[in-house]
Amino acid sequence: MPANNAIMTKNEGAATRPRLPLRRSLGSLVRPSEAGLKASHFRRPWLAAGLLAPQLLILLFFFFIPTWKALSLAFVQVDPFGGTMIFVGLDNFTTLFSSPEYRDSAILTLWFTVVQCIATLVIAGLLAFATDNVLRGRAIYKGVILLPYAIAPAISGVLWAFLFNPTVGPLAQMLHELGFAWDPNRRPFDALLLVSVAAVWKHVCYDYIFLVAAFLAVPASVMEAAAIDGARPVRRFLTVTLPMAAPTIFFLIVMNFVYGLFETFGIIDTVTRGGPAGSTNTLVYKVYQDGFRQLDLGSSAAQSVILMAIAVLFTFLQFRAVERKVNYQV
């Protein structure tokens, strides 16, 4: 591909321009001014559009059209088959905000997401810290930790549900023998604990990969300096490694929140189905329950609009924080 078809900086552009003598005269008449353009830009708009098209199409089909659908359904009550539709204004939203079930679900989601986020980070951090100190079989150690990530959420969910099933599950029997009255069918906390543990177990590997990389990226010179100053491994980890990995940790906090909020659907569906009595019914699972199982499309659409607002808020927070650069330059 010739250079003038690719992304070019202003300098390169200037260098290639004389090679197009035929277009110069005509081009100078129609070509818009380049003043004020960023240093790196496309000369030909159709190329830029062509390169952007796949991404834009994906956005169109997986974001804009669904968003439009959700918005158009959030303000109506509708027969599931689409036969009748009544505009109800903000009714779907006011009903949600005044419903104790929705409030409970929101509080539960917050609790679940925060606990899941912290637990995942701490466990992944410990494992990553330990990685540095494992001398033999490091590959096996890493492989074992990464395994859960390769298991589909639905499958791991079914396994968790079975292992801890109070009537037939072997691990539940063990808990019973140890004297715990374990029963996720009747004790909301047990159900929530089970879902949280399953969610953390599934996501630890994700955080682990990033943390191992971040810890490895800490310059040896700094670590050696700290060691010469007499800092022991734990102290070096807390005062040198952790602060230097802060950007990664911040990124992981955001990713864990997104995971907890939106991606634990498969685990909840297989482990508890949101029960008992809605005690593990997170906001995302509720959208599915109300929309796809109970066919209350209006309410479900209103809920997804609220979730979308939360997602937008998170993206905004993330960008602002990234702009401010949680970073320590060496």
């Binding site: 009550q77 509708v78 027969d79 599931p80 088959f81 689409g82 036969g83 009748t84 009544i86 079930e101 079914v158 549900a161 079975f162 099933n165 109070p166 009537t167 037939v168 599950g169 996720p184 069918n185 009747r186 004790r187 909301p188 297989t270 482990v271 508890t272 189905r273 029960g275 008992p276 009595a277 809605g278 005690s279 329950q289 796809f292 199982r293 109970q294 066919l295 209350d296």
Partner: protein
């Protein structure tokens, strides 16, 4: 276990190969009829057998059956497909979705379809409980297909060991027996809670004891019906179940385990489950089992239970030749011989008198007495407004709410009265929403 899978897979492959060989010449010319169904396991195998029998019986149409998940999932798939004009030609929909489908505007009433395609079907031959539910203004809107009712399954060995011949016919008597089973440590658990307990232990309980579940004859007399089950014996029933759960008499299977497997494995001595469990229980239970009609309250005015299961709906928006194929398939399904075969293979009740009488004449029920229990339970007493059945719009939604509220009783968060009050209140909101959307239908 693994070997049965292998066997059934090779069996399927062989059947498929035979079928392909037999129809290879005409497969391309056949009109494809898509059917989405919602029953799985052994029942699903029987559905595929039914389809293959139909396809072999003629060479114009080819029914293609797809399992779309349970009843709610199949309904959701149908709704999603209908909105983008990708719907199947035939949908199997549960009795709970009857009103929703009836008023959906997405169906062709089955009598119109059959008349238009030139079939003379006798709509007066359905057995009474089936007709009482599916016939609207003298005509069926859908073809009754798999009809069931919950019955009490029990481990006869366990009952004998505890000194009982059979389960008591009242809840009070059954309670004593279940507690005796536990105290004598005969089985780990006395009863398993079925996955669809709201259908058996709440709705059928209410009908059998002749309690009103909702006003307007449980929804038969109008969309302005309101739930009233928080003011009837249902409250006592939930309190009883809660006590059983707390005392370890009634076990909740929970996720990852099918409640019926707690019965067939011998863990639990009883379960109140659909008569359609027959094929599964017959195959899996390695002990002497039997079944009985569901118990009633002492001194109750005992009535019939209500019908469960599903019917087949002809879906709108298909070409004339597909409609003709749907009618041909429906006609095949409605034949007494098919009905009889289906009932025997599954445990669902025969839905027409013709099939029922035929099975009776053969002495089938003498050899298989538990197969007639569902019919007996469905025919007890003269049906009343309380026992005929339930016709609620968006019944899936109010059911989900009822289950959630009763779970709050299991967890101890709410008393039975609080939970049912809340369930009725939330359920009535669903009914009002449905009434608003379907005013004048």
């Amino acid at each position: 276990m693994a070997s049965t899978y292998v066997k059934s897979i090779t069996g399927l492959l062989a059947a498929g190969a035979l079928l392909m060989g037999a129809t290879a010449a005409t497969a391309a010319d056949r009109v494809k009829i898509e059917w989405w169904y919602a029953i799985s396991g052994k029942l699903g195998d029987t559905v595929q057998q039914l389809i293959s029998d139909f396809n072999k019986s003629q060479d114009k149409y080819e029914v293609v059956g797809t399992f779309k998940g349970n009843y709610e999932e199949t309904m959701a798939a149908m709704v999603a497909a209908y909105r983008v004009n990708q719907q199947p030609a035939i949908l199997q929909s549960a009795e709970r979705g009857f009103m929703t489908m009836l008023n959906s505007g997405a169906i062709i009433p089955v009598d119109q379809l059959m008349a238009k395609q030139g079939y003379k079907t006798d709509w007066n031959d359905f057995i009474k409980p089936v007709a009482g539910f599916y016939i609207v203004n003298g005509k069926p809107a859908a073809l009754p297909f798999n009809s069931s009712t919950p019955i009490l399954w029990y481990n006869a060995d366990a009952f004998k060991a505890a000194g009982f011949d059979a389960p008591s016919d009242t809840w009070q008597g059954l309670e004593k027996q279940l507690y005796a089973l536990k105290e004598k440590k005969i089985t780990d658990c006395s009863m398993a809670l079925p996955g669809d307990f709201q259908w058996s232990l709440i709705e059928n309980y209410s009908a059998i004891n002749n309690y009103p579940f909702a006003t307007k004859a449980n929804g038969y007399a109008g969309l302005d019906t309101e739930f009233v089950y928080n003011k009837t014996g249902v409250v006592g029933q939930v309190a009883r179940l809660k006590k059983w759960v707390d005392d370890g008499v009634l076990k909740i299977a929970g996720q990852g385990v099918a409640p019926i497997s707690l019965f067939t494995s011998g863990t639990c001595a009883t379960i109140i489950n659909s008569t359609a469990s027959h094929s599964g229980v017959e195959a899996d239970a390695k002990f002497k089992w039997s079944a009985a009609v569901m118990p009633h309250e002492e001194g109750a005015d005992v009535r019939n239970g209500t019908i469960g299961g599903a019917s087949l709906w002809a879906v709108k928006g298909k070409s004339e030749e597909v409609q003709a194929g749907v009618a041909a398939f429906f006609n095949f399904v409605a034949q007494p011989a098919t009905q009889e075969w289906w009932s025997k293979a599954t445990g669902y009740v025969p839905v027409t008198n013709a099939a029922y009488q035929k099975m009776k004449a053969e002495g089938y029920f003498k050899d298989h007495p538990t197969r007639e229990i569902a019919l007996e339970q469905l025919s007890r007493g003269e049906p009343t407004d309380n026992s005929r059945g339930f016709r609620f719009g968006n019944h899936n939604q109010s059911t989900a709410i009822l289950i959630e509220e009763i779970q709050a009783v299991w967890t101890g968060k709410k008393t039975p009265q609080e939970a049912l009050d809340s369930s009725v209140k939330r359920g009535n909101e669903i009914l009002r929403q449905y009434e608003k959307l379907h005013a004048g239908k």
